[in-house]
């Protein structure tokens, strides 16, 4: 973000009842960290939940969430206000996750080239053995893309169009990935239609 004005500190008391778009405008125009703090407080739960489900690891998900909000601070002027702010934020979170995964992969490759054995496949889906839930089992049968899209759809409640915006995939692809994900879950857990509801 370009450095235009002074950093502004204002009271957060009056900011709890204003829209996300208004807060974003305050941040972009005046580098208002109090307004940005309010935006973080509003959306941190959803972003952290998304990343926790995506990575299966609480601490790395929270680190990624911090990075996500820092990236969002730098890119906030690119938020046009057309879609929801949380949709845009989850896009930044997903991009942060993919970048981190790419970095980890490259790091593992360098270690491998140097003759070291990489200890972990960092940032992959690695739920801790003692706390594997039904959702973890369910997510484990999905590929990374499917997992991200299913989480965005069913955990974050994003529309197909918003998921398309967040992942950069066409709406038709999003629909088919969700269909495929549901098929996989159905087959893996032997769930029949009459078990629902």
């Amino acid at each position: 973000m370009a450095f235009h004005g002074e950093i502004v500190i204002t009271s957060t008391a009056s900011q709890s009842d204003v829209s996300d778009q208004f807060l974003v405008a305050k941040v972009v125009s005046a580098q208002d960290t109090a307004a940005y703090g309010e935006l973080i407080r509003r959306h941190q739960s959803q972003v952290r939940n998304f990343l926790r489900k995506l990575t299966g690891d609480i601490s790395s998900a929270d680190d990624l969430a911090q990075d996500c909000f820092l990236h969002a601070w730098n890119k906030l002027q690119t938020f046009t206000g057309r879609g929801s702010f949380i949709g845009w934020l989850l896009k930044v979170a997903y991009t942060t996750f993919l970048q981190s995964k790419r970095k980890s992969k490259r790091y593992a490759e360098i270690l491998d080239e140097a003759g070291y054995v990489a200890q972990t496949e960092a940032r992959s889906y690695t739920p801790q053995a003692d706390e594997i839930s039904d959702l973890d089992k369910l997510l484990a049968v999905l590929t990374e893309d499917e997992r991200a899209i299913m989480i965005l759809s069913y955990a974050c409640g994003l529309s197909h169009r918003e998921i398309s915006g967040a992942t950069g995939l066409p709406v038709g692809t999003v629909k088919s990935v969700i269909f495929r994900g549901k098929e996989k879950i159905r087959k893996s857990f032997d769930i029949k239609d009459n078990q629902y509801g």
Binding site: T33, F69, L70, L138, Y196
Partner: protein
């Protein structure tokens, strides 16, 4: 999920994916602290770089000025344009200046 109809399977999946809201517990303060740190680092980087760069460059820059002034006295006076010659070339200079300004403004507009 406003752009599709939810069936029983969707509702089941939604309930499975549902989780408790995560408490802030100082998370937003930690992020804001990192944002502040970044702002101040950026704020300090340019003056510090100018200061260090200036300190390093001051000696060679002075030497360059001295060498330049020595060379200037060796250049014949006829090579410098007289005011009269400048007046005759004024339209060309004005045209070039206008083109330059318009070009710079256009580039800036395109960037924005």
């Amino acid at each position: 999920m406003v752009d599709r109809m939810k069936d029983a399977e969707d509702r089941l999946l939604e309930s499975m994916f549902q989780s408790e809201p995560i408490a802030d517990d100082g998370f937003s303060d930690r992020v804001i602290w990192r944002v502040w740190r970044r702002i101040w680092l950026r704020r300090l980087t340019l003056p510090m770089a100018m200061l260090v760069g200036g300190a390093i460059a001051i000696k060679p820059a002075l030497q360059l000025v001295q060498v330049g002034s020595g060379l200037l006295s060796a250049v014949p006076q006829e090579l410098f344009a007289t005011p009269a010659a400048l007046v005759s070339q004024l339209p060309i200079i004005l045209f070039a200046g206008t083109v330059l300004v318009v070009g710079m403004l256009s580039t800036r507009m395109l960037e924005e």
